[in-house]
Amino acid sequence: MREPVVRLDRVSRTFEGTTPVHALRHVDFTLEAGEYVSVVGPSGSGKSTLLHVLGLLDEPTDGLYFLDGINVSLIDDAERTGLRGDRIGFVFQDFHLLRHRTVTENVMAALLYNRFPRRERRRAAVEALEKVDLGHRMDQTPDKLSGGERQRVAIARAIVGRPSLLLADEPTGNLDTGTSESVLEVFDDLRIDGLTLVVVTHDETVSSHAARQVYMVDGLLSESTIGRGTR
């Protein structure tokens, strides 16, 4: 049987302080390869923390996290960084594109740190940009692009390294309804290609694209089967 992409086993994340914040409380969560999951919930419920833990940007204070079957609690900081660069793609609400680089260079930046062969970077970037329908924008700088186009550049950057897991944090938060739709269509295409996707959002429309939805309230995660698709 194939190993799940993500398995969280009673994962907690507590931020120490004068009043400790329990961002995640004993979360159990399994994500099979090819799943498209949305995480919804009010702000401050721990959605972003969940995403950071999944993306190896943050470490659980308790519990076990297996990514592609690797127990990431047992590996050191450098290996976690390597795993992140190799197997995880991020899409952020505010795009995080490098202002002075062309669209292609922005996508290629994701291949700098994971021993991707230098000669194939450009070809891979072009391929990823064509997948998000931006083959005609490759030599422009991000400031010439619309919001939706920028977010698609960010998606191209996230998928260019063929990650195991794509994490999107409010990917349409800075976009209007029309452009949001183009981004969501890209996610649908990626889902068809078999990419494993986690989208954090508070937008019902966005959430409804996912086959599986999970809710977070006060650091507690609960499954729901209510949604457009089926499991």
Partner: protein
């Protein structure tokens, strides 16, 4: 299991990619990068120009060194102080044959002795003219010299001749007078052997000095042979011995002269030698260097602070970029090394531009003064290296700060 832990790829950044990323970042803000390196350019430029100019000038001192002064040695009698004040200088330590003794030393070109003769208030006049309105008697200095002294003083005659050893040994009542003295005494030719009177003593003028290279006091004096001065004016001691040496022999002669003149107690004589040209050159280089190297160092420090400042600002501006790079797999050391390479590159470019402008300054100054520019070859080569080190040091703190940022916070903070 599809992926085993062994297949974890450790984060890696090829050096070529590191340099490319850093240079691209610098070129993204060319104006700011240029302004940032300005301090380093000034600092390195000042240092290179300083070292070059002092070297060039130091070299120049050797060639332009006053050959006349560099070959002169003077021996005088040391002023002696007893318990009861200055002792009477009754003892003459310098022998009357000092000129011969000096000329026997190897390296001596010319030597002569000179003494001021006390006139005891006697005035000097020429053949009396009964002009009640004009002054006819003057207090003119009497100077006794050995014949060699005219050579030392580079004296040129208007007319007549110098006296020689014969005049001195016979104590002939002859004199050579300077052109100012001649004018005062109304003497302009010597072919009729004009006589002058110092008090009651008659002297025949045999020559008039038109010009001297040194010892301008001769121009307004009555110059007597030593022997004449001793016999007629009771001269009993020599004031000074002057020696001209071969070029480069001044130090040697200076060490020998006192012993040759007064072997018993040579250190009772005072020997004045010119400063050693090598020492002068070194001293000039040191003076110039010390001052301007401090200035160059200060501007370099300011340059370093400038780079540190701008790199720090740039780190704070690029927090989002740092977060993004961490999210695509950059390790802390990759973030640090990118900022370090950026600041080192700025220092390096500053070093190159600074060294170039420094060399230009040296060449320009040399051209303006028709000097030969001299520069140690390691300076233009070492300057960019120095600039790079300065840049590296300046980037240390900002780079460390950048690498310590937590990716989650960096992503949240910046765009």
């Amino acid at each position: 299991m599809m992926n085993s832990p062994a297949s974890i790829v450790r984060p890696h950044l090829a050096f070529r990619d590191l340099v490319a990323e850093s240079v691209t970042s610098l070129l993204a803000r060319p104006g700011r990068s240029l302004l940032t390196i300005l301090g380093t350019v000034l600092g390195i430029g000042a240092i290179v120009a300083t070292l070059g100019i002092s070297k060039t000038a130091g070299n120049q001192i050797v060639t332009r060194f006053d050959a006349l002064a560099a070959t002169s040695v003077t021996v005088t009698q040391r002023n002696e102080f007893g318990f009861f004040g200055p002792s009477q200088q009754t003892v003459n330590l310098i022998p009357w044959d000092a000129e011969d003794r000096m000329k026997r030393l190897n390296g001596v070109v010319a030597a002569g002795i000179k003494s001021n003769v006390s006139a005891d208030g006697r005035l000097t006049r020429s053949v009396p003219i009964n002009d009640p309105l004009a002054q006819t008697e003057f207090a003119i200095n009497l100077i006794a010299v050995s014949p060699g002294f005219f050579d030392i003083a580079q004296a040129e005659l208007r007319s007549g001749r110098f006296f020689d050893e014969g005049h001195s040994s016979r104590a002939d009542p002859v004199a050579v007078i300077g052109r100012s003295a001649a004018q005062r005494l109304n003497i302009d030719r010597v072919d009729h052997q004009p006589a002058i009177f110092v008090g009651d003593t008659t002297l025949i003028v045999i020559g008039i000095i038109e010009e001297v290279g040194r010892e301008p006091s001769l121009l307004d004096a009555v110059v007597l042979p030593n022997g004449t001065a001793r016999k007629l004016f009771q001269l009993n001691g020599i004031d000074e011995v002057q020696i001209r040496t071969e070029i480069g022999a001044a130090q040697l002669i200076g060490s020998q002269a006192a012993t040759a003149l007064y072997p018993n107690e040579p250190n009772r004589l005072r020997v004045a030698v010119p400063p050693d040209p090598r020492a002068v050159k070194g001293a000039v280089e040191e003076d110039v260097n010390a001052l301007f190297l401090v200035l160059g160092g200060v501007s370099l420090l300011i340059g370093a602070i400038g780079i540190a400042n701008v790199t720090l600002v740039s780190v704070l501006e690029r927090v989002g970029e740092i977060g993004l790079r961490r999210s695509v797999g950059a390790a802390r050391r990759h973030i640090a090394s990118q900022f370090l390479v950026e600041s080192a590159a700025m220092g390096f470019i500053g070093g190159i531009v600074g060294a170039s402008s420094g060399v230009l300054v040296v060449v320009a100054v040399s051209a303006a003064r028709t000097w030969t520019p001299v520069l140690d070859p390691w300076i233009p080569l070492g300057a960019p290296a120095l600039g790079m080190v300065v840049g590296l040091l300046a980037g240390l703190y900002p780079a460390l700060k950048a690498s310590r940022m937590e990716p989650v916070e960096a992503l949240r903070a910046g765009l």
